[in-house]
């Protein structure tokens, strides 16, 4: 059974979300500051619920967020919980949490998730890009 991939374009307040069911490569990048985070993330939750049933043997997740509001952080937990379920079915999950040099806030956020989420989260320092 072939699942459709999931794609949302980046906007000034919401991230690009690119979930490829065939390759198991997931990317979330940009800013996440929607006023209604649950409404924004609901389609992604639904897609992940379907993916859980036919997940790749390995799913690689890149989180490259500039910053996010607190309601988005709760939604990210919901995303990670679904990935934990996939891992619980014996599949491999790898999360790469990207943060820029000197960005203590995003580094700490990554550490927060590492602490409460039962997944391998690699803290990945990225070179300073354009501003």
């Amino acid at each position: 059974m072939n699942m459709e991939n999931f794609y949302l374009e980046e906007t000034p307040k919401t991230p690009e979300i690119n979930l490829n069911a065939q390759t198991g490569k997931f990317i979330i990048s940009g800013r996440s500051i929607p006023e209604n985070s649950i409404e924004f993330y609901k389609p992604m939750f639904d897609w992940l619920d379907a993916y859980t049933k036919e997940a790749n043997n390995k799913t690689n997740v890149d989180v490259k967020l500039e910053y996010f509001n607190t309601s988005s952080s709760k939604c990210l937990v919901e995303v990670f919980r679904r990935l934990e379920d996939i891992k619980g079915k014996g599949k491999e999950i790898e999360v790469n949490w990207f943060y820029e040099e000197d960005d203590e806030d995003m580094q700490e956020s990554g550490e927060d998730f590492k602490e409460i989420i039962n997944l391998p989260i690699n803290m990945t320092l990225i070179e300073d890009g354009d501003s």
Binding site: N69, S73, D102, D105
Partner: protein, 179 residues
């Protein structure tokens, strides 16, 4: 802080941006864009600009959630939002203000006092606990706003309730962000 207080703030410090008036989702976006543009002209590191920006987001969304939740349609609730971004020798500060119901004062006070009583390690731990509890507020808020603001700003939250109305109070919040 009374109006005289706000006036002296405007006089004594470098106010970068100030707004007082009605609030809407479009205005929210305009304030964010303006703040971002203003801050970028000060050529602070990108990560510092992001810190200010995300704190502003949290403050404004807090106000929105509060207005939505209060169900109070009195004109002064939606027509009297205050937002000031300023800079002085210590760093940046953000003052926000909005009307709240008298019945909400104690809850707000208790929450801010609780956040102010926590040191940075405790803020981190409480943040993680609430992040982990899987609950959202009725309005989809995370219940993390004040903790996040205190944690990112690195300073206690200053607040005031101005009680000169019979059914509501003007709640002001000052967040200082050290450079």
């Amino acid at each position: 802080m009374n109006t005289q207080g706000y006036h002296s703030v405007l006089e004594s410090d470098e106010v970068i941006f100030a707004y007082k008036g009605s609030v809407s989702h479009a205005l929210f976006d305009d304030i964010l864009t303006l703040v971002e543009r203003k801050i970028s002209t000060f050529e602070k590191p990108k990560t510092f600009r992001r810190k200010i920006h995300v704190i502003v987001v949290e403050i404004l969304q807090n106000i929105f959630h509060h207005l939505d939740a209060s169900q109070h349609k009195a004109p002064n609730f939606t027509d009297s939002i205050l937002f000031i971004l300023g800079k002085n020798k210590h760093g940046y500060y953000i003052i926000s203000g909005n009307y709240v119901l008298l019945s909400d004062i104690e809850v707000l006070k208790a929450k801010i006092e609780w956040v102010n009583s926590l040191d940075s390690a405790e803020l981190k731990n409480r943040y993680r606990e609430i992040l982990n509890n899987g609950k959202f507020s009725d309005k989809g808020g995370a219940g993390l706003g004040f903790i996040d603001i205190a944690r990112k700003s690195g300073n206690p939250l200053e607040y005031d309730f101005e009680n000169n109305e019979t059914d509501c109070s003007f709640f002001s919040l000052k967040v200082k962000i050290s450079v």
